[in-house]
């Protein structure tokens, strides 16, 4: 029987074979007196979906479970949409910008189209403005539901996630019925809308208005009173008004800090000043306040939708100017959405001039007088600003989007440094960033 000395595990031969003696406990000698002193760990979170926000990477410096430094790395979803718009005509721009913040596509379309309309100096018909408000508020509900659903998922409340997505599906069904698509609608166009509300849509929206308040109440019953939910959210991701303004943060985060800054109220557009609704605020400046503000905003959006439905009057949904308005009405054919059969019959069989007009407007587009404008709208995440520059031609010279997710995500470090690593997730979920908008 021999024993060999090995620094890791001594061994000896026995009749049963070789036996190792594994010892340990020499870490104190290796590391010094306190092994937890100066324990700095750099953790790379991502790049991947934290949930459905998109691809985000966090680099966290940790001491124990405390985050001492949080750096956010973005750009994984950069698709060059801003530059792409410079190579398409003004109407095609709508189909690009709608893909930026994919949870709030109609806000992107509305912001872009309002900027183009301001450059053109045109007013859209009343019915178009009302329907824009209507679809945007539907979209706001859908977006907030995703925010709440993913919030639940990230906190481990999976029923919140399934409920949120179920409710969102109702909104998406409505938007599909109205626009033809669940997302990326390209429904709002410079000068008005692609098409009027289909028959039956108003009835379906009213049914939704009946159901949704109950679902919001369910959500409150499921999450709001729950002690775990409250403890995960309260006093987490703190950012007060001063911090918000310094970091340019707007939307529910700013309102949860107590400032009732909502562009629908302070700089009304599309007739928002004529709607009766409140701007929900909280005074907690934390993730809990943001959760409550979003929940209340869903209710306010329902109020606005109801009023919009009540005031819908028959009328055109596109400007009269035939040099801007798309020449054809859209209709559903056997191969999908397209120009209506009557219009095709008219231009192909009856009127050469109509054909020329259609061809010119579709291939060449319209010219927009030179100049620049900045048009902000209140998206579910805050101020969504469109800085659009025209050089007088048929294409935008430059489209810059001030995306609220991009700006708000900067607050990650301020919200999570000094807190626990688990609270980083709560803080980011309460920002509700959509990386499609962040990276554009």
């Amino acid at each position: 029987m021999t024993t060999t000395q090995d620094p890791y595990a001594g061994s000896r031969e026995t009749t049963e074979g070789r036996v190792y003696t594994v010892t340990g406990g020499d870490w104190d000698a290796t590391l010094g007196a306190d092994p937890h002193e100066n324990e700095r760990l750099v953790v790379n979170m991502g790049p991947q979906h934290p949930s459905t926000h998109g691809v985000l990477r966090l680099v966290l410096d940790l001491e124990g479970e405390t985050v001492t430094k949080a750096r956010v790395v973005i750009g994984y979803l950069h698709t060059g949409i801003e530059k792409n718009t410079e190579y398409r005509n003004w109407v095609q721009g709508t189909t690009f910008v709608t893909r930026m913040d994919y949870l709030a596509p109609l806000f992107n379309e509305a912001g872009y189209c309002m900027a183009v309309e301001k450059l053109l100096g045109i007013e859209i018909p009343q019915r178009a403005a009302t329907i824009r408000v209507l679809v945007m508020e539907l979209n706001r509900i859908a977006s907030h539901l995703v925010a709440l659903a993913t919030f639940g998922m990230e906190m481990g409340a999976l029923t919140g996630m399934t409920n949120g997505f179920r409710e969102r599906e109702m909104v998406l069904d409505l938007l599909e019925e109205i626009t033809g698509l669940r997302m990326n609608h390209a429904y709002i166009r410079p000068g008005g809308l692609a098409q009027d509300l289909p028959e039956g849509a108003v009835g379906h929206i009213r049914e939704f208005l009946e159901v949704m308040p109950k679902r919001v109440a369910d959500f409150h019953r499921l999450l709001t009173g729950q002690p775990i939910w409250q403890r995960r959210l309260k006093d987490v991701g703190y950012l007060d008004v001063t911090g918000c303004l310094a970091l340019g943060v707007t939307g529910p985060i700013l309102r949860a800090a107590g400032l009732p800054w909502d562009l629908r109220k302070v700089e009304p557009y599309l007739g928002y000043e004529t709607y009766d609704f409140e701007v929900p605020t909280a005074d907690t400046s934390d993730a809990w306040g943001r959760y409550l503000v979003r929940m209340s905003e869903v209710n306010e959006s329902l109020r606005i939708i109801e009023q919009a439905l009540d005031r819908l009057e028959p009328g055109p949904v596109m400007v009269e100017d035939r040099k801007i308005a798309w020449p054809a009405q859209l209709s559903l054919g056997p191969d999908g959405m397209g120009n209506s059969h009557e219009h095709v019959a008219h231009i192909m069989g009856q009127s050469m001039e109509a054909l020329i007009h259609h061809f010119k407007l579709v291939t060449e587009g319209f010219r927009v007088p030179a100049g620049q404008v900045y048009v902000p709208v209140e998206s579910p995440r805050g101020e969504l600003g469109y800085h659009v520059v025209s050089d007088g031609s048929t294409r935008p010279w430059r489209v810059h989007v001030r995306d609220p997710s991009f700006v708000n995500l900067q607050a990650t470090a301020a919200m999570s440094e000094g807190g626990m690593i688990a609270d980083v997730i709560a803080a980011i979920a309460s920002i509700d960033p959509v990386m499609g908008g962040v990276d554009r």
Binding site: I74, G75, H78, G80, E82, K83, N84, E86, Y87, R88, N89, K118, L119, G121, L245, A246, L247, G248, V249, T250, L259, W261, V266, E267, T363, E364, G365, P369, A370, G371, Q372, V373, Y374, P376, E383, G385, H387, V389, S390, D391, G392, S393, T394, R395, W397, R398, H400, R402, F406, V407, L409, Q410, D439, R440
Partner: protein, 250 residues
């Protein structure tokens, strides 16, 4: 883009009676499809048109500007002093209900600080910061002494519910602008993006690195002389060229 991008002489400007001093914002454009050297036999390629307006309006709005624009301007003059204001603000343009101050970069930080802190101004929020490349955007905009890169700041006063725009123009050869991150910390990412996309160097920024493009990327994609890129796509036996080489009406 026309084929005489680098040159400042636009053919036909004399014939069209063009005069730098009197033309408020005119520009010139050659051809009709924005493509040159493609063997266009339609004859449209030889067209020289006077544009009703170039991308950059070059005139200055005379006072009174109207509305609260005068109030803000007076408050700004009071805050920084008439001498600094005259040196800093090269011209003011009121267009479509928006006011733009064209600012010399040396005085940008003084103005930004005053705009944020002065009681009568209170532009607490820097809504947006980006740039526009006016390369080749029509006659006067590309003339010497008219820098092509314009950094654009959109400021919001939540107290008074007002919005103004500052514009700082720099050339591609000397693309330096002081960073406003000290006054507006939100400018951090905006300036990184503007550096990434336009190559504008913000002096004094705490860490000016690329933000959207990969760290080792060459070039600045949103400059006008940076191609869009793309590959031809085959569809139903036809080849569709990439968007930036397609014929298009300009």
């Amino acid at each position: 883009m026309s084929d005489d991008g680098g040159s400042n002489v636009v053919p036909g400007r004399e014939e069209a009676g063009y005069d730098d001093a009197t033309a408020p914002s005119g520009g010139f454009r050659k051809g009709s499809f924005g493509v040159s050297g493609s063997g266009d036999t339609s004859g449209f390629g030889g067209l020289v048109r006077v544009e009703p307006g170039g991308a950059v309006a070059l005139h200055s709005t005379e006072r009174p500007y109207g509305g609260w624009f005068d109030e803000v301007t007076d408050a700004l003059i009071e805050a920084v002093g008439q001498a600094t204001y005259d040196a800093a603000v090269q011209r003011v343009l009121v267009d479509r209900g928006e006011i733009t101050y064209f600012v010399a970069r040396e005085h940008l930080l003084t103005l930004a600080q005053a705009l944020r802190d002065d009681e009568a101004l209170r532009f607490e929020l820097l809504s947006s910061l980006s740039a526009v490349d006016y390369l080749d955007s029509g006659g006067p905009a590309v003339a010497p002494g008219r820098p092509r890169l314009h950094v654009v700041y959109h400021l919001t006063s939540m107290t008074y519910r007002r919005r103004i725009r500052l514009e700082v123009a720099v050339s591609a050869e000397d693309p330096h602008v002081p960073s406003v991150t000290a006054s507006y910390p939100t400018a951090d990412w905006h300036e990184r993006e503007t550096f990434d996309m336009f190559g504008i160097v913000f002096d004094g920024h705490p860490g000016l690195t690329r933000i959207l493009m990969p760290d080792d990327w060459d070039g600045h994609p949103q400059r006008k002389d940076y191609p869009l890129g793309g590959i031809p796509v085959e569809y139903h036996d036809a080849t569709i060229p990439p968007p930036d080489t397609r014929r298009a009406y300009r």
